[in-house]
């Protein structure tokens, strides 16, 4: 199980890296064709935007850890373990319920956008925006997992002192 999770995470990381590298390459191509070759391609800008959108929500769905997010943790950090358990549980319930409740309407909007296409490459908008639905499902799923963890016997692991994110990042 752990091995499988590891493989999936690697795969998700590879997708994100390819996505942002391709976006970067798209821009370089745009600058080169416009300013060096003087014959700009019309699709570079659009593909960069599409890749950006996809990359943001793909990464948010599969790669962002709790501690990567911008959060106001001053109160959480000084709270005792039991209080943290309650705080984290309220958060997980609120996020899970809200995103689950919104999912049908979000689905409707995205499918409705299937009638429109992007201006240059004629990509259907439901495919472009669909990644947001994936993100929403991942958010709901993660809230459920978090809640289960918090209600289970090992809840202390979840609310224990976090490692300083920056310290780990720059080692």
């Amino acid at each position: 199980m752990a091995a499988l999770v590891n493989i999936l995470r690697r795969a998700a990381e590879t997708v994100a890296v390819i996505c942002f590298t391709a976006m970067f390459a798209g821009f370089i191509l745009q600058v080169v064709t416009r300013y060096v070759l003087n014959s700009p391609l019309d699709w570079t800008q659009e593909i960069s935007v599409v890749l950006y959108l996809f990359g943001v929500f793909w990464t948010a769905a599969f790669l962002l850890r709790e501690r990567d997010h911008v959060a106001f943790t001053v109160l959480y950090d000084i709270a005792p373990m039991r209080a943290r358990r309650v705080m984290a549980a309220i958060g997980a319930v609120a996020i899970g319920v809200a995103f689950a409740a919104d999912l049908p309407a979000a689905w409707d909007y995205v499918s409705y956008m299937g009638r429109q296409t992007t201006p240059v490459m004629r990509l259907r908008f439901d495919l472009v925006f669909g990644i947001f639905l994936v993100f929403m499902v991942a958010v709901v799923w993660r809230s459920v997992l978090t809640l289960r963890h918090l209600l289970g016997p090992h809840w202390r692991e979840h609310v224990g002192d976090r490692v300083d994110p920056q310290a780990e990042e720059f080692e």
Binding site: E13, V17, T21, A71, Y76, Q166
Partner: protein, 431 residues
């Protein structure tokens, strides 16, 4: 304002206080609002995603992150520091001056204070600590304060976010940041000089003039990057986003090909890091766009302007009050949150008072960047503590004089808008 809107604000701030990531608190508040007002909950997708899709400028954010990452990966920082050392090392407290000058130059290629502190900041702290020449807390505090210059001198990620949220020209904002950034550098150097004399900090051996051409030549490719960026944008050649991609491409070639300081593995690691930070910011932006829809549908701009005009406050008093408030908020909140979630609540009032949006944007950026070094929640203090292990309490003890001069500089910008607006006007800004 409707009850539903108060419910949204309550959820936003209440959940945030519990430690829920700001983007999610904002989404939960917005979703509750849409259900309570019987609007289509699908609007959270419509507002957020269409907004992102139309904001081509936003793509500059990952590109600036990449540029700074590539620069930090290669030996660019070392070359720049050698150059700065030759320039100002000979004065008392020389390495402190090197610190500030290097940050000013680096600010011309990076748009993020955190990237500066983690990149060039880390290298210079090591230099200052060699043979224990400067106290650890002092080296760390000065580095934190000098990193503030990064997003004030263009390019600047916070200004890109402000431009997006306020519909202000990013070109004029970037120009408006140049003089304030130099002013901040000057006051920090003045404070460093004063403390250096008082505490008898060392000088570094003067570099012979004959060495200068070689040192400059070694640093030259890196020094060219700010020039390329500014020419690209103000020569009218490229859009800011394209300029950002040129900067990232140039930094990539410098680090990977010319200086050979970056391996493929490192490249993948840096791209993953860029993906993460881009995603974190992108998510907050998407949620902020939904929040903006709420603010607009509640007709808050009109309400605000009516209220503000009724109080008959002067623009200056308003600006001072907002700044005092944001300095307090900056002690607790992260910069992205303040710019994307809190500033939009004040924009209608600022507009009603006919404040100049470029001036307001620069002043708020500087203000919020000062918040990055104010305890207890100062991201730059945490970053430097994280990468160097210098205890937070030592950094905090030494950072106060620098916070004081930063605030003086901020006050000067508030009182003399011309300092901010001089350059934009020279380039055709009609404000």
């Amino acid at each position: 304002m409707s009850t539903a809107f108060y419910l949204a604000l309550f959820l936003l701030f209440g959940l945030s206080a519990l430690g829920v990531p700001v983007a999610f608190s904002t989404y939960v508040g917005a979703i509750a609002y849409l259900f309570a007002t019987h609007q289509d909950p699908g609007l959270i997708v419509e507002q957020g995603l269409n907004g992102l899709f139309d904001s081509y400028l936003l793509l500059a954010v990952p590109l600036f992150v990449m540029a700074a990452n590539f620069m930090n990966a290669g030996t660019v920082s070392d070359r720049l520091l050698t150059f700065c050392l030759a320039l100002v090392g000979r004065f008392r407290g020389g390495l402190g001056h090197v610190n500030v000058i290097a940050n000013i130059i680096f600010a011309g290629m990076s748009g993020s204070a955190v990237a500066d502190a983690a990149g060039i900041g880390r290298v210079i702290i090591e230099m200052m600590r060699r043979e224990n020449r400067y106290p650890a807390g002092y080296a760390a505090a000065l580095t934190a304060a000098a990193s503030v210059i990064g997003p004030i001198i263009p390019p600047s990620i916070p200004m890109v976010l402000y431009a997006l949220i306020s519909d202000t020209s990013i070109g004029y904002l970037f120009l408006g940041g140049i003089l304030p950034g130099l002013l901040i550098g000057a006051v920090l150097m003045a404070m460093n000089a004063w403390i250096a004399i008082k505490r008898n900090f060392p000088r570094d051996a003067a570099v012979p003039l004959a060495e200068m051409p070689r040192i400059t030549f070694r640093a030259f490719p890196a020094l060219m990057l700010p020039v390329i960026l500014l020419f690209g944008i103000y020569g009218g050649a490229t859009t800011p986003t394209e300029a950002a991609s040129v900067a990232a491409g140039y930094a990539f070639i410098l680090s990977a090909v010319v200086y050979r300081g970056m391996s493929f593995k490192e490249f993948v690691h840096l791209m993953l890091d860029a993906a993460r930070s881009t995603s974190v910011v992108g998510l907050i932006i998407a949620s902020a766009l939904v929040l903006n829809y709420l603010v607009a549908s509640e007709n808050i701009p009109a309400l605000m302007s009516k209220k503000i005009l009724a109080i008959e406050t002067s623009p200056l008093v308003f600006l001072l009050a907002v700044n005092a408030l944001f300095l307090l908020l900056g002690c607790l909140f992260d910069a992205t949150t303040l710019i994307l979630i809190v500033i939009p609540l004040f924009l209608p009032a600022a507009r009603a008072l006919h404040l100049d949006m470029v001036h307001f944007g620069i002043v708020m950026t500087v203000n919020i960047m000062i918040g990055l070094v104010t305890p207890p929640y100062g991201v730059l203090l945490f970053v430097i503590n994280g990468i160097t292990g210098i205890p937070l309490k030592d950094i905090i003890r030494e950072v106060w004089p620098f916070i004081a001069v930063l605030m003086v500089a901020l006050l000067a910008m508030i009182l003399w808008p011309d300092m901010v607006l001089f350059l934009p006007r020279r380039f055709g800004y009609l404000g």
